[in-house]
């Protein structure tokens, strides 16, 4: 390597250093890209929230029947309060994997988990 460095011109050395830094920065950027899933909340018309699992939070959404509340944690997002009579959405448990879907139909709330890179998702859909 020493002999290689010695036979390079000053411009070659500068270019080599620049390309090395560029390649290292690019590799670090690709490797640090978010690997997992994102939460999309849809009110039947549009997406009203999107975010990741990197924070613990409780969110409130207002629908035709009242307020639904979601809890986001590292192990998933779940409905913790729903104004509908049967509260099936609360019984569906957490959604964490790409392809998971939770719905509160009476209050028109859809919670969908999508992969940041769908081609790499563990599951495209969940049959339940």
């Amino acid at each position: 390597m020493t002999s290689l460095w010695a036979c390079m011109t000053g411009a070659d050395r500068l270019l080599t250093l620049a390309l090395t830094l560029f390649a290292l920065a690019g590799a670090g950027w690709l490797l640090s890209a978010p690997p997992g899933e994102r939460i999309l909340v849809d009110d039947g018309v549009q997406i009203v929230y999107q975010g990741g699992f990197d924070r613990v939070a409780e969110l409130s959404f207002h629908g035709p029947m009242g307020t639904s509340r979601l809890a986001i944690a590292a192990d998933g997002v779940r409905v913790i309060e729903a104004p509908c009579p049967q509260k099936l959405c609360m019984g569906m448990g957490p959604a964490r994997r790409s392809g998971d879907l939770i719905a509160c139909l009476p209050n028109r709330l859809l919670v969908r988990i999508v992969g940041a890179q769908p081609a790499e998702a563990v599951h495209d859909l969940i049959s339940r």
Binding site: D42, P85, G93, P94, R96, G99, L101, A119, L125, S127
Partner: protein
């Protein structure tokens, strides 16, 4: 770049080009839409190069599903089941309804009544679809089952006649038929890669871009976990489980999959997943196998070549049909 430059420059440039290609490689178009239909979430995702065509095809498929919901469901003016239930004489139904009834009656007969299209009164009695489900008394259950059985309906082309005072409810089969119609419509629009998912009843059209679709099967007792992963293309998959819709009374869990022979929730399985060439067949078989249990269920499945099942019995043990392993992701 001149080739008398040090090899290090060549390596670095190649590395940068490779990373750039990986990040910006063409992925093709994708369109996705979710609607609330049939009392559940319906999602269609489609892949292709023509974004406008994808979106038009999905719109048309969703509209078709909404139309069929009103035709095959209960409680709509266009409902064929409601028209049959309201008449004591023969009723002429739509071709789609006749097709569903034909398959449903075949499975009802082959399963010796473990699958039935006439459980409307029983379902109303239990109130599973309403805000206050309850365990009815035994006498009421017996009364709700009066006349129920594979011979309660007579189908002659588009003519349907009730031979007993049963209430038709196509809940165990209609969703699959509606998914199949959506898939057929996508095909007519030239779509070759798509998934139609109606609350877990789904058809996978073609492949997920360059690989089969990866479908997780919900674990019946561990929320958030999968019991198995399937790799599918051009197949339907439907799961029936006791964990989706249930209530508890006096410490006992009562779910929505009734055994037509007893009037009470079937208890032989925790879940059944069926892979078939059509969603309507997978839908009906999943319900029938759930009620029948492993031994009789797999015997029924043998009547339908090309269909396979993963059954999880009441003790949590997994049972596979002969061809199911081909669809399962190997550890």
């Amino acid at each position: 770049m001149p080739w008398n430059r040090p090899w290090l420059l060549v390596v670095l440039l190649t590395l940068i080009l490779a990373m750039s290609w990986w990040h910006w490689r063409p992925a093709g178009g994708e369109a996705r839409q979710v609607r609330l239909l049939m009392g559940t979430t319906v999602e269609i995702v489609a892949f292709g190069d023509n974004q406008r065509r994808l979106e038009q095809a999905i719109d048309a498929a969703m509209d078709e599903m909404a139309r069929l919901e009103r035709l095959l469901g209960n409680g709509y003016p266009e409902s064929d089941p409601d028209r049959i239930n309201a008449s004591d004489s023969a009723v002429t139904v739509a071709a789609e309804t006749a097709a569903v009834l034909d398959l449903g009656l075949e499975i009802a007969q082959l399963s010796n009544g473990a699958f039935d299209l006439g459980l409307g009164r029983l379902k109303t009695l239990w109130g599973m679809e309403g805000p206050a489900p309850r365990v009815p008394d035994a006498g009421a259950v017996e009364a709700a089952l009066a006349g129920v059985g594979p011979t309660a309906l007579q189908l002659d082309g588009p003519q349907v006649t009730r031979r007993a005072a049963v209430a038709i409810d196509l809940g165990g089969i209609a969703k699959g038929e509606i998914v199949d119609h959506a898939v057929a419509l996508l095909r007519r629009h030239g779509i070759e890669q798509a998934a139609v998912n109606a609350g877990g009843d789904m058809y996978l059209l073609g492949r997920h871009r360059d690989r089969p679709w990866r479908i997780g099967i919900q674990h019946p007792r561990q929320p958030g976990e999968v019991a198995a992963t399937l790799h599918l293309a051009d197949r339907a998959v439907v799961t029936s489980g006791d964990y989706e819709r249930f209530f508890e009374q006096d410490g006992v869990r009562y779910h929505h999959l009734f055994d037509p022979r007893s009037g009470y929730p079937a208890d032989a399985c925790q879940s059944v997943t069926v892979v078939a060439e059509s969603a309507v067949l997978a839908d009906a078989l999943a319900t029938a196998l759930f009620v029948l249990g492993v031994e009789d269920g797999l015997a029924l499945l043998a009547h339908f070549p090309g269909s396979d099942a993963l059954m999880i019995d009441a003790a949590g043990r997994q049972h596979l049909s002969a061809g199911m392993a081909a669809w399962l992701e190997q550890p």
